[in-house]
Every structure is written in structure tokens, then in C-alpha cells.
């Protein structure tokens, strides 16, 4: 009851016209900058942060919340329309989003991404409102063995992510695991696979790989297939630019899946929204009645990951606001910004400054609604990008990809790497190797290696630590089930075929 009274007061503050205005400005700028590939949420917040200096604390905090949510929102646009992942957590969105766009459902895909983001984002905030303290304690119970099991569970999804050949998917995954080991080893400070290059000491940037194997390789493949003869159809009528009722209905489970998966992964410090989006997509495909259609442009394949990476925002706020722990890059910069305002996130924030705490949460609700209202009308506008003839569109994609890769670090080395990964993606596509497992291995491999080494240091080398804790045992059991599921499926089918024969 007290919660609702406090939240009501928070709304009263956040709904003042001037605060609504700042919330709008934050959401708008966050979305616009977030659309640019290579600028993830953390960089977007850092770049826009100076704009809030000199404002009154309430307005400043509210605008920050808008920027934070807006930045997460913007990532899906280029993934769907141009096959360029706007940020790490939108890579999976490329798989079905871009295929939808190629089938003339680009507007629908954007609309579904916006609605999924709204539904799951709101779910994340509601969960944050009601459950923050107990959920934060649950997150603390996660130790390295549990993180190891979570990453293994994520990696086991390779069997659903891969295309027709499991062997090719596994090889692609292994290559991703190798790529992620390039750089400086955290545990020994020694370099691995840098080939004497000081640039590679910091490892390869995730965006460079993702943009290379998706956008660059995709354009090269389209050119090889002489696609200019088959322009992408874009419907003229506004109604056809929006998701249809059937498409929305197909996404019912995806909304729920994205919400829950995103929130839970978001609460765990260091897990990150890219992992949340991969797991949500994998779960969606695993439980789907038509898994074979994934990757050809199914709306659930957009709704699940986009939902997950927005529910993640609410989840990431849990350890930040209740324990003062930033779980990742974007919450770390949010924390330092809040401190500038004299807001001190931590265990005492809820009791000592309830008006700031609840005002911030109320502004998250408002920001979420505002983003939906702002983004839906933009959908028809963005969908027009697909009308651009390929001889303009392809150079445009190349240009944006180059800007994105250069923007991550201002380093020309990244352009060489981008070209290399584009070529790699193209060759892989020619031989039927799916690129998604490579990205999966790259995203999860690093965290998995760390977790297993942390666990073994804790147990002084005894591997039993990985399986003797109940939560990790359950997750590892699930991973085994997922891994043998293709075999089981084949057995079942054979038996059924035998029964009918």
C-alpha cells in the first residue's frame, strides 16, 4: 500500500508539464542517437549527459531516465531495415527482422519491435516496483558456478540457432569462442592470439564482428544473387505498414518470454542485454510449433529479443537502485550521473529519499509510454527507407557500417577488421555456415570462461563445484536436455513414422 502511495507521489512529480517535457526530450534524443550503429546505450548516455548539467535535479534525473530508455529503443531500427545491428542486444533481431523487411513487412517488424519493447519494458518496471528488494537478494545468490551454468545453457541454444547442419553450427560456434579469447587474459594479464599487434591486446570489438558478418556479408550476398531485379516490395497503404492482428497474436508468448527472460538476466550483474536477447530468441524457437520458419521472417523472432533487451533495462535498475551496484556499462554511467545530482543509489535510497526513488520509477513508466507514442508514428516514415533503390541502398549500408565500426573507437584498424569479417561472413554463407552461432559464441564465451576459472579458483581446482550447487545443477541439466533435443526429436519422428507405417 505504502508503495502505491509513494509511487502516486512520484507520478505527481513526474507528470508536471516541465518534467514531462524533459522526459520527452530525453526519450527523443536517446532514440535518435541510439539509432546510429556503433553507439550503444552507454555511449549514448555519456554523449548526452552534459545536456542535463545545469538543470534542476528532478528534471535532470527524469531526462536521464528518458535517454537511458530511448537509447535502448533505437537499436532495432537499423537491424530490421538494413541488417546493421544498432547495438549488441539487437544482433538477434537481424535474423528475422531483416527477413521480414525483405518480404515487405518491414513496417510490421518495426511496429512489433516497438510494441514488444513497450510491453516488456513496462513489465520490467512493474517488476522493479513490486519486487526490487527480494529480487536483488536473489541476484546476489548467483555465484560463479551459476553464471557458468547460465552461459552453458545459453551456448546450448546453438542447436536451435543453427540452420540445417548441426556440425556447421558447432564449427561456427567454436570459431566465435576462439575470437572471444583474443586479447588480454584478465586472470594472468598475459596476451592471447594478438600476433604481436598492440591493437589486439584489447580484443576485437563485438560491433565490428556483428556488423561485418551481418551487414557487409549480407550486401555482398545480395550483389552475388543479382538482387536488383527483385526490389523489396513496400506497401503503400498505411494499414499494411503496421503489424497485422495475426502477427501480433503470433507474438503473444514472445511478449511474455521476452519480458521474463530479459528481466531476470538484467538483474544479474555482468550478464548483459545481448545475452538476454539471445536466450529469449532461443527459448522462443525451442518452444515454437514451427521452429523451421525462424530466420525466414517470423514476427516472434523480432518480438522476443526486442522485448528481452528492454525488460533488461528494468532488471538492471534493480541492483543499481537497491544495492548501488551497476551491472553493466550503461548503468555504471547512469550511477555516476545520479551521483552528480546528489542522488545516492544504494540500500538506503528507498527509505531516505523516497521522493527521488519513486519519482525516478514513475518517470520510467512515463518514458516507456512516451517512447511507444513517439515511435509508432515514425514506423511508416522509417519503412520508406526500403523504397531506396539498391544501387543507393547498398552503398548507404556500407557507409553506415563503416561509420559504425569507426565510431566504436576512432581507430582505422577497425575498418580493416570490418572488411575481414564481412569477407568471412560471405564465405561462410557460401558454404552454408550460419553466422548466428559465431556471435553467440563470441558473446557468451568470454563470460563462460571467466565463470569456470573463478569457480575453480574458489574450489581450489575441484570441478565438483560446478554441479553441486542446486541452481547450477538445474541449469546444466536443462542445457543437456536442449543439446540432446534434436536427437530426441529424430527418435520421436522415427517412432511415429514406424507407427503409421
Amino acid at each position: 500500500m505504502e508503495t502505491f502511495a509513494a509511487l502516486g507521489h512520484g507520478f505527481a512529480v513526474a507528470l508536471q508539464p516541465v518534467n514531462l517535457f524533459w522526459c520527452f526530450v530525453g526519450c527523443f534524443l536517446g532514440t535518435i542517437v541510439g539509432v546510429l550503429p556503433g553507439l550503444g546505450p552507454a555511449a549514448t548516455i555519456a554523449l548526452l549527459l552534459p545536456l542535463t548539467f545545469g538543470m534542476d535535479p528532478t528534471g535532470g534525473v527524469i531526462m536521464l531516465a528518458g535517454i537511458y530508455f530511448g537509447a535502448k529503443y533505437g537499436g532495432s531500427t537499423t537491424s530490421i531495415l538494413l541488417n546493421i545491428p544498432g547495438e549488441a542486444s539487437s544482433v538477434v533481431t537481424c535474423l528475422d527482422g531483416y527477413q521480414m523487411a525483405r518480404k515487405g513487412r518491414g513496417g510490421a517488424a518495426l511496429g512489433i519491435a516497438a510494441i514488444a519493447s513497450f510491453v516488456a519494458g513496462t513489465f520490467g518496471i512493474v517488476a522493479l516496483t513490486l519486487l526490487a528488494p527480494p529480487i536483488a537478494e536473489f541476484a546476489l545468490s548467483f555465484s560463479s558456478p551459476e553464471y557458468f551454468a547460465l552461459m552453458v545453457l545459453g551456448l546450448s541454444l546453438v542447436v536451435v540457432l543453427g540452420g540445417s547442419s548441426l556440425l556447421k553450427a558447432l564449427l561456427s560456434l567454436l570459431f566465435g569462442l576462439w575470437l572471444t579469447s583474443i586479447g588480454t587474459d584478465l586472470f594472468t594479464s598475459q596476451s592471447r592470439f594478438t600476433f604481436g599487434s598492440s591493437f589486439l591486446l584489447g580484443g576485437i570489438d563485438f560491433m565490428v564482428i556483428a556488423v561485418g558478418v551481418f551487414a557487409i556479408a549480407g550486401v555482398m550476398e545480395s550483389i552475388r544473387a543479382r538482387e536488383e531485379n527483385t526490389p523489396i516490395p513496400v506497401p503503400n497503404r498505411l494499414r499494411e505498414l503496421m503489424p497485422s492482428w495475426a502477427e501480433l497474436k503470433a507474438c503473444r508468448f514472445a511478449f511474455l518470454n521476452g519480458s521474463v527472460t530479459g528481466f531476470i538476466v538484467g538483474v544479474l550483474p555482468g550478464a548483459g542485454s545481448a545475452i538476454a536477447s539471445f536466450i529469449a530468441y532461443g527459448v522462443e524457437k525451442a518452444v515454437s510449433r514451427h521452429p523451421e520458419k525462424f530466420g525466414t521472417g517470423v514476427p516472434e523472432g523480432v518480438a522476443a529479443p526486442e522485448g528481452a533487451n528492454n525488460a533488461d533495462s528494468g532488471g538492471a535498475m534493480v541492483p543499481l537502485l537497491t544495492l548501488g551496484i551497476p551491472g553493466g556499462g550503461s548503468t555504471a554511467i547512469l550511477l555516476s550521473a545520479l551521483v552528480v545530482w546528489g542522488v545516492k543509489p544504494g540500500p538506503l535510497m528507498m527509505t531516505e529519499s523516497p521522493e527521488v526513488f519513486w519519482g525516478l520509477i514513475a518517470s520510467l513508466y512515463i518514458g516507456s509510454v512516451m517512447l511507444l507514442v513517439m515511435n509508432l508514428p515514425l514506423v511508416p516514415l522509417f519503412a520508406q527507407i526500403l523504397r531506396i533503390p539498391v544501387y543507393v541502398l547498398f552503398p548507404l549500408i556500407f557507409g553506415l557500417a563503416l561509420v559504425g565500426a569507426f565510431g566504436v573507437s576512432d581507430n582505422p584498424m577497425n575498418l580493416m577488421l570490418l572488411a575481414g569479417f564481412g569477407l568471412l561472413g560471405y564465405v561462410m554463407a557460401q558454404f552454408g555456415f550460419p553466422p548466428a552461432p559465431l556471435i553467440l559464441g563470441f558473446v557468451l564465451g568470454d563470460a563462460m570462461e571467466r565463470a569456470v576459472r573463478q569457480s575453480l579458483t574458489m574450489s581450489m581446482g575441484d570441478p565438483a563445484i560446478l554441479v553441486e550447487r542446486p541452481l547450477s545443477a538445474v541449469m546444466l541439466g536443462l542445457a543437456v536436455l536442449v543439446l540432446i533435443s534434436p536427437l530426441l526429436g529424430r527418435l520421436l519422428r522415427r517412432r511415429r513414422a514406424g507407427a503409421t507405417a
Binding site: 552507454a42 555511449a43 555519456a46 554523449l47 541476484a139 546476489l140 545468490s141 548467483f142 555465484s143 560463479s144 586479447g183 588480454t184 584478465l186 586472470f187 594472468t188 594479464s189 598475459q190 596476451s191 594478438t194 604481436g196 599487434s197 598492440s198 591493437f199 589486439l200 591486446l201 584489447g202 580484443g203 550483474p269 555482468g270 541492483p319 544495492l323 548501488g324 551496484i325 551497476p326 553493466g328 556499462g329 548503468t331 555504471a332 554511467i333 555516476s336 551521483v339 552528480v340 545516492k344 543509489p345 544504494g346 540500500p347 538506503l348 535510497m349 566504436v408 573507437s409 576512432d410 581507430n411 584498424m413 577497425n414 571467466r450 576459472r453 573463478q454 579458483t457 574458489m458 581450489m460
Partner: protein, 325 residues
Amino acid sequence: MQRRHLLAAGGTLALAGLVRPARAAWTPSRPIEFVAHNGPGSGPDVFARALISAIEQDKIYEGRMQVANRVGGGGATAMNYIMERRGDPHVVGVWTSLWMSLPLVQAEARSQVTDMTAIARVAIEPAVVIVRGDSPYRSLADFIEAAKARPGQVRQSGGSPTARDALVRQLLMAHTGARWAFISFPSGGERMSALLGGHVDMMIAEPAEIREQVRAGRLRILATATATRLPLLPDVPTLAEAGFPINDVIQARGLVAPPGIPEEAVAFYGDLFRRMSEGPAWAKYVEDNQLQSAFLSPADTAAFFRDYQVQLRDVLQTGGVRLAR
């Protein structure tokens, strides 16, 4: 007539003689580039922006200053860039302790701070030894005793083996003969979660990141890893006062310039950062972030680099970290 000319000429010469020292004082003719070795929003980037903002607020220098993010190589790209800009007085690098440890352990990192032009040290980041609020360890001695009783089973969460928390552990272990495990986590948030969740027993953190948890009783400070007590924590003993007189491992931040820049430019920057560190805007930043203002002149900063690398080499070797040079 002629004489007057001569006089005038003589006057000009005399004037030129008088003016020379003033003309020799170098001022920037282009915007000054502050090189940070990580992306927007990262620690070095935020610190570089804070320096610029302090200089602007106190109107110490009114020309343009901007941050350039030279990301890559875990810091090596930014250091290489400083070396490549030999002789360019419009570039300064924002160094951290990493700039000194990186070339020691990585053969690929060939740029050394000792080859650059030292400009200033501006801040020291103090550290505190913390345990959980309900931990049985009431003092650092309790912790050390427990580590001696169960070697390897007591754990500390931290960063890389070349970071300050790992170095303090090495020195404490060498001093006491106790041994405990060091679990590396990439971010401060994960280190803190491991401690709060009870998966590790101790952590060495910066005061600003633990202030709220300590106030709420979730964490307890056992000692400060500093030479003197911290003004904000007057009741907490230093390592030496707690009975463990080890060398102070300083984690500092400051500025360098490319090699071969004019003496006058060095003097300009030394003066700029000295005046900044005496201003009110900097004082507020230091207080908000619980840092210690610790200005050193260009010459003293160069000496600091040399001493620090000698100390670092020694501690890393004791800890069994393989050195590249």
C-alpha cells in the same frame, strides 16, 4: 636625425630584450586534445571530461579543449598515439596506473610513459579494505589469521593481477606469510556482488563505490590502504596502524604529453594543472568522488613514473606475474 634613428633602433632592441621572456611563454594555437584510452562513459573518459570542466569553470584557460577517445589494445592504442605525436604540444594523454603496468607485462605494448613528456600527477585514488557487514572479521588481523588457518580457502574479489588490489594482496601476503585466493572479475559491480553475496570474503575498493553500502551496514571497512587516515573515515586505521606496515601502492591519475615538445609548452601545462588543482571546481570534484588532490610538477611526475615502475616490477615479480621487459 641619424642619431634619433639610432636611438630608436637602440630602443627597439632594448624593448625586444625586455619582451623576450614574455614572448617565449608558449600558449596553445589550436584546441588541446585530451586523449582518453577508453570510450565515452568509461572511467578515463569521465575523468578527462572532469579535468576540462574544472579548468573551464574556474576560467584557468579559456581556449578550446576536447576529449579524444583512442580506444583499443586495453590502453596501448592511446599510448602509441601519444608516442606518434612526437613534438606536438597540443595533445595530452590522461594516464592512469594502467599506463605504467601495461608495458611491463605486455610485450606488444611498446610505448612507455617514461619515454613521454611527464606533465603532472593530479589525483590519488585511495582504497579501503572491506568485508561484509556480518563478517566474523572485525579487523584486518582477524582476516589474516583466518587466511593463515585455512590457506587458499579465504577469498578476495578483485580485478587483474596488475591492478592495485592485487598488488596490495601480494605485499600483505609477503609480509604476513598468509595465503588467500584472488578471484578476478572484470567490473567493480561484479566484484561487489560477489562480496555482498558471500561468495568471497574480502575486497579492496575505492571509498566512493562503497559509501552507501557501508552506511547501510551491508559492508564494513577494516583498514585504508593509504599512507595516512582519510578525512572522511577518521576512525579507520591505515594498513600500518592495523599492524601491517607495507609499502603504499599508489593508484594515481595525471597527464603526459608526446616526447620532444618545447620546454615552454611543458611549463605552460605544468602551470595550467597546478592552478587547476588549486581551484574550487577541482576541490569539489575531488570531494564528490573521494579522491585526494595530489599535484606533482612535471619534473616530480617524471621521477614518480620511474619510482612507480621499479616498485611495480618488484611486486609483480614476487607475485609470479610474467614480465615482458
